[in-house]
Amino acid sequence: MRIRFENVQLPLAHFSLKIDFDIEAHSIGVHGKSGAGKTSFLELIAGVRRAATGTIQLDDRLLQNNGDFLPPRHRAIGYVPQDLAIFPHLNVRRNISYGNTRPEKKSSVSRHQVIETLDLGKLLDRRVHDLSGGEKQRVALARAILSGPALILLDEPFAALDPQMRETGLRLVGTLRTQFAIPFVCVSHAHQDLTSSCEVLIEFSQGQVVGVHRNADSADIADSANNAGNAGN
């Protein structure tokens, strides 16, 4: 996966996002203090927000080129926001199937495999309001995976009051790489949570990228990603 930001600007309340980079990696970790613009960065990729100016490119597709804006429904980018945004009026089964009807899928993972791997079999007919935080996280991730995305965006999957959620978050991000071979961008305020799973680490401060590092263990990570990718095909 290659992501390119060129002269991308987005005015926020206290500062402006100004992003410029070109990275090729299977997994990207984004860290920085809270309020550094990490979530806005994900929202620009998802298309939930529109940059004021600049070019955003994913592989060979232009997501935004100044005024030209590819709407989120055509991006095939799965977004798992921090609040998870599970549909409260649908049960687990209908939540995870919501994006399944997308015509232009960029990845395909069998429904069965997702339900097995994320251990959702027993939850399918449950209403969502009595799910635990960790269960909700699995539902949100399954929903994103089953929409056939080219890329999945994860916002603070490890940050939660519920310690169980940090555990599942770490495990799920690992799963994404090893089992499903779907590229991802993961945001966390805690640097150490990203080193085990991301090839490239980006540091944000005041809306700007202040550092890009290839992870020291990145060779292993890239290998396992490629292996999973081959196994999947």
Binding site: V48, A76, G78, P88, Y98, S147
Partner: protein, 221 residues
């Protein structure tokens, strides 16, 4: 002089009809008011709310002039459908629709405002079109507010008097509604019969408002 059951049947039918006719327009406007950020939004809001505070007779007079045989809209209606509006059941429907529209819009709007926009955004990232998001996320989550607005508009329609009597008259068997019948009966000194209709009107109104309150207050989990 009145067939009371005819009056009740007619009133229920026309009021249900008017609430159903305004429902799609009211929902669209309520949704727009809940989402838009344009500056002239408050002007639209004011116009929509006007029938709620204007004397109903004044609204009736305006409608009479617009939809009368020589009124611009009345003439247009006649040209298209070959029928008159004023002093027919259509006028009753028109008057109740206009008078109850603000209640539908204001209540449904609260329903739409309560929908977390994040859920709509996520639905879009999952590939859903505007209309799919509308029918599978927005409307289901706003349903309580919409239904409450529908019931309130229905209750308001049953109570409509001032605008109706101007545009539809009070023609027994043709345009006489529950409210108009009560007025006629009292004028004729038939208080006993009037009270029977008052009781029915009160029961209908109570039922509709009770249900709509229950819908609004019992928040979805």
């Amino acid at each position: 002089m009145f067939d009371q059951w005819q009056v009740i049947r007619f009133t229920l039918l026309v009021c249900l009809g008017s609430s159903l006719v305004i429902l799609p327009f009211g929902m669209a406007l309520a949704w727009w008011l809940a989402k838009t950020t344009v500056r002239w939004k408050s002007i639209v809001e004011t116009i929509v709310t006007l029938p709620l505070v204007l004397p109903p007779v004044a609204t009736g007079l305006i409608l009479l002039n617009l939809f009368g045989r020589r009124g611009p809209l009345g003439a247009a209606f006649r040209a298209v459908f070959g029928a008159d509006v004023v002093f027919t059941w259509r006028a009753v429907l028109l008057a109740t629709a206009v008078m109850s529209f603000p209640l539908l819009v204001r209540t449904a709007r609260l329903g739409f405002e309560a929908v977390n926009p994040r859920l709509e955004q996520i639905a879009e990232t999952l590939g859903a079109s505007f209309w799919r998001v509308m029918f599978t996320v927005t409307i289901p989550l706003a349903a309580r507010g919409i239904l409450a607005g529908f019931l309130l508009s229905f209750a308001r329609a049953i109570g409509e008097f001032g605008a109706t009597i101007l545009v539809a008259g009070n023609i027994p068997g043709k345009t006489t509604t529950l409210s108009l019948a009560i007025y006629s009966l009292v004028q004729l000194g038939k208080d006993q019969d009037a009270y029977m209709l008052v009781l029915i009107a009160a029961l209908l109104a109570f039922g509709a408002i009770f249900l709509s309150e229950a819908l609004v207050q019992k928040k979805a989990p």
